[in-house]
């Protein structure tokens, strides 16, 4: 078994205490929530810490509650607030999430495996380290390639001429929450700030998070306008069992004007990280014309990749296969799948198009040819 190196461990019971420990911004101090990302990384020693501060004893961070007016731009109505250390399994099982944000339930249910979802948190999933097959390896293995840019080395083995790291953002909830225009609250000793989730990320495999030293992500807010409002809508079904392998389909938006879908491509029906996830949210006017469309891709860039061109292709149109195809092609052009995960890179590029098409068709309730997902 791989062994954890020794470190000091703190388990504060209030946010203030936790903020005190990390206040100086000392890089040898790390936060941990469920630890499903940090512990394996520390065992493999590509993430190091002398002190680890657990957030799991801070009760106020683990809750799901309704809020009014989730943000300045998103208007009135009842949005949802999810505390950062809420377990993924609690998100999946939450009736509010299932009924109003079914595609989020589906995206969350597709993460790793049931035992891991009982440990892992939503905040941890948003802060998940970027991944690469040259990086997520043991210390001994990385010694045999002389490390790489993201760690102690000088070359990026995925793109040897490159001066930046192309490790990919592997979170499944991040693209979905980005499509839903979620916001996050970051707290530090000096105060708290609320930013759109998309501003949490930078397209850089090394400095992928825009969190300031000394900050803790405390809360995720989803605006009311992104909810389907449709009680018991179809998309919630099956979300709970956490299946969904190659081609797992996301929840379908309900009767209300926001329609969503989440498709995830991976090798197996469980455990695997996505090699591609497609999150879509469409807002329709009463006449069926698209008012706004968010298409966000996971695992094909160092951040959840918004594809504005895809949204523009859809906006102002009624949904049909032709406009959807134009949007899907735009998504393919925007994606930069690299040879740092499973499957052939070129084929993954093609799959961006096919999967975006399928996700949009599903959100638009247009029948399509993609075979039903193997395990959904």
């Amino acid at each position: 078994m791989l062994r954890l190196p020794p470190f000091h461990f703190h388990q504060p019971s209030t946010i203030e205490e936790a903020l005190d420990v990390i206040a100086g911004g000392d890089p040898s101090i790390r936060l941990v929530a469920g630890g499903t990302d940090l512990w394996p990384n520390m065992k493999r020693r590509h993430q190091k810490a002398e002190t680890v501060v657990s957030l799991m004893k801070i009760d106020e961070l683990r809750k799901i509650s309704e809020i009014n007016g989730a943000g300045p731009d998103t208007g009135a109505g009842t949005g949802l607030s999810i505390g950062a250390t809420t377990l993924l399994d609690d998100v999946v099982r939450s009736s509010e999430v299932q009924e109003r944000f079914p595609a989020l339930a589906r995206a969350t249910a597709s993460i790793s495996s049931p035992p891991l979802r009982n440990m892992a948190t939503l905040g941890g999933n948003l802060c998940l380290d970027t991944r690469c097959t040259y990086y997520n390896q043991t210390e001994e293995w990385r010694r045999s390639i002389d490390y790489c840019l993201k760690e102690a080395g000088t070359v990026c083995w995925v793109a040897p001429g490159s001066s930046i790291c192309w490790a990919h953002s592997a979170s499944d909830s991040a693209p979905m929450l980005t499509a839903l225009e979620a916001r996050v609250v970051l707290r530090s000793q000096t105060g708290s700030r609320e930013i759109p989730l998309t501003q949490l990320y930078a397209n850089d495999g090394i400095h992928y998070l825009q969190i300031h030293p000394g900050e803790i992500l405390t809360e995720i807010k989803i605006p009311a306008a992104s909810g389907t409002g449709a009680r018991g809508s179809r998309g919630a079904r099956g979300a709970r069992n956490g299946r969904g392998g190659i081609g797992s389909r996301g929840g379908i938006g309900g009767r209300d004007n926001c329609r969503t879908a989440f498709w995830k491509l991976r090798r197996r029906g469980s455990i695997d990280f996505a090699v591609l996830s497609v999150a879509v949210a469409l807002w329709l006017a009463d006449d069926g014309v698209v008012e706004k469309a968010n298409v966000v891709l996971g695992s094909v860039a160092s951040r959840p990749l918004e594809v504005p061109a895809a949204g523009e292709a859809l906006t102002g149109h009624e949904l049909d296969l032709d406009v959807i195809r134009v949007a899907a092609l735009a998504a393919r052009k925007a994606a930069t799948p690299m040879d740092n995960t499973d499957f052939k890179t070129q084929w993954r590029g093609l799959m961006v198009e096919r999967y975006t098409e399928a996700a949009l068709c599903e959100a638009a309730s247009i029948p399509h040819d993609r075979p039903p997902p193997p395990h959904a």
Partner: protein, 864 residues
């Protein structure tokens, strides 16, 4: 995975929902109590409650922990090893290097090319260069990471093609073949060129089969416990304690009598724990030097470096058919990427040719094989050992032939079936042969006749068959001793102890031994105690490999139990005046079949026998029958009998993405007789699972970094997350049929099931893809992009296929010509002795050469 009830006959064998009842009426002619019944495994309860002790669970007073320092370069000379920082780690106890273990070892006598710790040269990333011990595992890890090693790097070889093209530097100096070729063989049975010239249809295909690893749940672990000076016990997760025993004696330079090897319960092996391993020997050496128990538990990454998995094989297969679909002759060429060491590789090379003849009549057959060294983890035996690769090619090619000849693939196979009792062109002796019934079962179960070729686009059915050994006919080192031995100890308590060197690796061998003994003696499993896999206390059994244990240890147990029964019978007959042939052992009693009241308890019978004969013990042993083949290389392939399997897979393929999924598997296995149907089904379903993994996703893949920046050559993904193996969400429902036709060679007629059912799975999947979307994928694993590429080629009017384009020019050495039985041959090659002198192979590699050397030592001049 679900076992489904089929709509058709024969009835699929399903798992019973309740275990057998324990109330039994006193029989007059006893029904079998266990044999053929789905009795509970003897180790089942301990396994599910966690009571079983695996090697990593063991602890001893003063036990310390060891880690290996492994090479970070793929090929190089060790220039310096600096322990100074390691010594500073708190808890550090000591270290050893290659200088402490200079004697080489290896599983085959002809490939003694491994060292416990590399003395001077490393051949792959992961090769062990030093070992450090410390009082805790954490300290051992830190100390190992602190050791600094300097290497002088050598050019590396990453693939088969590179190995063939790069004679220097040599990875190993010893093979006579020269360059980086480990072994080359060439043999012809009958006149293949004539057969192909007379054929109406000749198919020539190139196939590639990627390497894969075993992925047992349990990572290898070992504990070495020193006893006194120069004496020790090694506990290990091994499939072959006997061979580990021999290797330890050799490297430690101790008499074997001072060494005891205990095979702990294995959490899966599949062939990955059947070599002696460097970590086992290094732990033993460390324990002797430190004078305290030493434990080593490998990480998953290290297990990937132990490997010994499926060889990547490139194959060229040229076969001639008559227009009415008879197979006339075949020329098969195989090229194996062996990795950095010999392991079982010489045998693996022969196995890529040997079993090509046992399913269908093949009147003329030529086989050329070569194995090369590369700077990657060594390949060896994985479930099916060397035979799944050519079986994949063969069954796909038969599917192509059926298409070309406009014949039904099932009919083509049925009309070419090999016959029971025949000797094949390459001199293998067929026993019972249930393949016809296997094919009929899956054809009926899948409704093949109406559905094959007629399913909607994107849906397809594929059929394939396979066959496997029921134990290798020859041991790994030539000797005249039994391959398996069992000793029984009975006493006045009525308890029976069974001693046998076999290793339980999860396949159920303990249960088979216990059931056979209990059946013969008419007692219950609970009255039997097993002592197995312990070279200090049990008679030798060669180990859990080549599907040999049920047949060989089973026969040995049968003999020992029958002898024990005879002793008890004599004592009981004397006392009760019963005619010997009237005596029945059943229901924990020994009694008169015509007067069941006249009898005594089994325990009383033991008392009577112990009083009459003294201490009670019997032995049984098993030596396989001699094989008729006498040519060089004839040692690989013979078996007491062969098992047969047929499978149909139904598949769904998305032609726009190439994504596919198997929706159902029908599989029929010729088991001879199932001693325990649930255990047999477990092996069948497990084989389907493992086969689908190889067919769909598993890859022991390596990667080079851009040469401009780095000389690295590393395993692409030595972890269970990134090395893709199916989860049970990826497993389709399986309908299994057990075909029973008791084989006279097997105990109660039983044949093997551990490996055979894997064989048809990969080609059946490829054939199903063809039926679904009309393209051929001539390699595994079959990835979605390959289907798209083949479909694109088809759309452009090119060959509707994805696969390797050509087979390289290879010098396979001089051909050995062996007349077939039909040609009136005698099992020898033409001019065998002169051939060897001429080719300089008189005493070179090959198990048969070793055999000859041994025979010469015994004063015999010829090989018969």
């Amino acid at each position: 995975m679900a076992s489904e009830t089929a709509r058709t006959q024969p009835k699929p064998t399903s798992r019973p929902d309740s275990r057998p009842t324990s109330e039994r009426p006193a029989p007059v002619t006893p029904e079998p109590r266990y044999i053929g019944k789905s009795f509970r495994r003897v180790d089942g309860r301990a396994k599910v409650t966690g009571a079983t002790l695996f090697a990593d669970d063991l602890a001893f007073p003063r036990m310390c922990f060891m880690k290996l320092v492994r090479s970070t370069v793929p090929h190089g000379l060790i220039r310096n090893i600096d322990f100074s920082k390691a010594r500073e780690v708190e808890g550090y106890l000591g270290s050893i290097t290659g200088a402490d273990t200079p004697v080489p070892f290896g599983i085959l006598p002809v490939s003694q090319d491994e060292h416990a710790l590399c003395p001077d040269k490393v051949r792959m990333v992961g090769d062990p260069v030093a070992a450090v011990a410390a009082v805790t595992e954490d300290a051992a890890v830190e100390a190992a990471l602190a050791v600094e090693v300097e290497y002088q790097e050598l050019a590396t070889i990453a693939s088969l093609e590179e190995a063939l093209a790069t004679p220097e530097p040599r990875i190993h100096d010893y093979p006579k073949e020269g360059g980086n070729v480990h072994k080359a063989v060439s043999m012809e049975f009958g006149q293949v060129e004539d057969a192909l010239a007379g054929a109406d249809l000749v198919l020539e295909d190139v196939f590639f089969y990627e390497g894969s690893t075993h992925l047992p749940m349990e990572q290898h672990a070992a504990v070495a416990v020193p006893e006194d000076i120069d004496r020790l016990t090694l506990y290990s997760s091994t499939q072959t304690p006997h061979y580990v025993h021999r290797a330890l004696a050799k490297v430690l330079e101790l008499p074997p009598s001072r060494i005891r090897v205990v095979a702990c319960s294995n959490g899966g092996g599949f062939g990955g724990k059947s070599d002696p391993f460097n970590h086992e020997i290094a732990a033993a050496k460390m324990a002797l030097l430190l004078g305290r128990p030493v434990k080593i538990s490998l990480t998953r990454e290290e297990v990937f470096y132990c490997h010994r998995g499926r060889h990547p094989v490139l194959m060229s297969m040229k076969t001639g058919f008559s227009k009415d679909g008879h197979i006339l002759g075949q020329h098969l060429k195989t090229a194996l990427d062996g990795g950095a060491y010999g392991s079982y590789g010489v045998a693996s090379t022969y196995y890529t040719g040997a079993l090509q003849t046992v399913t269908y009549k093949l009147p003329a057959y030529r086989f050329d094989g070569v194995r090369v060294f590369t700077n990657k983890a060594p390949c060896g035996p994985k479930r099916g050992h060397g035979t799944p690769q050519p079986r994949f090619g063969w069954e796909v090619q038969l599917d192509k032939a059926a298409e070309k000849l406009s014949m039904d693939p099932a009919k083509l196979r049925l009309q070419n079936l090999e016959e029971p009792g025949r000797t094949t062109a390459n001199w293998l002796q067929i026993g019972t042969m249930g393949l016809r019934r296997c094919i009929e079962a899956v054809v009926e179960g899948s409704d093949w006749s109406t559905r094959y070729g007629n399913l909607p686009a994107g849906r397809g059915l594929g059929l394939a068959c396979g066959s496997y050994l029921c134990g290798a006919g020859l041991p790994i080192y030539w000797n005249h001793m039994p391959q398996s031995g069992v000793q029984l100890l009975l006493d006045r308590s009525g308890s029976v102890a069974v001693y046998c060197g076999e290793a339980e690796i999860g396949q159920g061998s303990d249960s088979v031994l216990a059931a056979i003994t209990a059946e013969v003696l008419g007692i219950e499993l609970a009255d039997i105690r097993l002592c197995v896999g312990d070279t200090g206390f049990t008679p030798v059994d060669l180990g859990s490999y080549s599907s040999r244990v049920t047949l060989m240890a089973g026969n040995a147990a049968l003999e020992a139990a029958q002898r024990a029964r005879a002793l008890l019978a004599e004592a009981v007959c004397d006392l009760l005046e019963i005619a010997a042939d009237h005596l029945v052992f059943a229901d924990n009693r020994v009694f008169d079949s015509s007067d069941p009241e006249n009898g005594m308890s089994f325990q009383e019978a033991c008392v009577a026998a112990e009083a009459k004969f003294g201490t009670l013990s019997t032995v049984g042993s098993y030596i396989p029958p001699r094989s008729p083949g006498k040519y060089r290389g004839a040692g690989v392939g013979p078996s007491p009998t062969y098992s047969y399997t047929a499978a149909v897979i139904e598949i769904e393929v998305d032609s726009e993405t190439g994504l596919y999924r198997p929706v159902h598997v029908w599989i029929a296995h010729d088991i001879g007789r199932s001693l325990n149907p649930v255990m047999v089904l477990g092996q069948v379903e497990g084989s389907v699972y493992m086969g689908l993994g190889e067919a769909m996703m598993e890859e022991q893949a390596y990667r080079r970094l851009p040469a401009k920046y780095s000389s690295s050559l590393v395993h692409k993904h030595p972890s269970m997350l990134e090395y893709k193996s199916p989860t049970f969400l990826d497993m389709p429902p399986v309908t299994s049929y057990l075909i029973e036709d008791p084989d006279p060679e097997g105990p109660y007629g039983a044949k093997e099931v551990g490996q055979g059912p894997l064989l048809p799975v990969m080609p059946a999947l490829a054939n199903a893809i063809f039926d679904a979307v009309g393209v051929r994928i001539d390699q595994v694993p079959i990835q979605p992009h390959m289907i798209l590429r083949a479909l694109a080629a088809k759309a452009r009017g090119k060959a509707a296929r994805f696969g390797p384009s050509s087979f390289p020019e290879i010098d396979f050495g001089e051909i050995l010509h062996v007349p077939t039985p039909e040609q009136g041959g005698d099992g020898r090659s033409i001019d065998d002795y002169r051939h060897k002198l001429r080719s300089g192979m008189r005493s070179a590699s090959g198990t048969m050469t070793t055999r000859e050397e041994a025979l010469e030592k015994h004063g015999k001049l010829t090989t018969d």
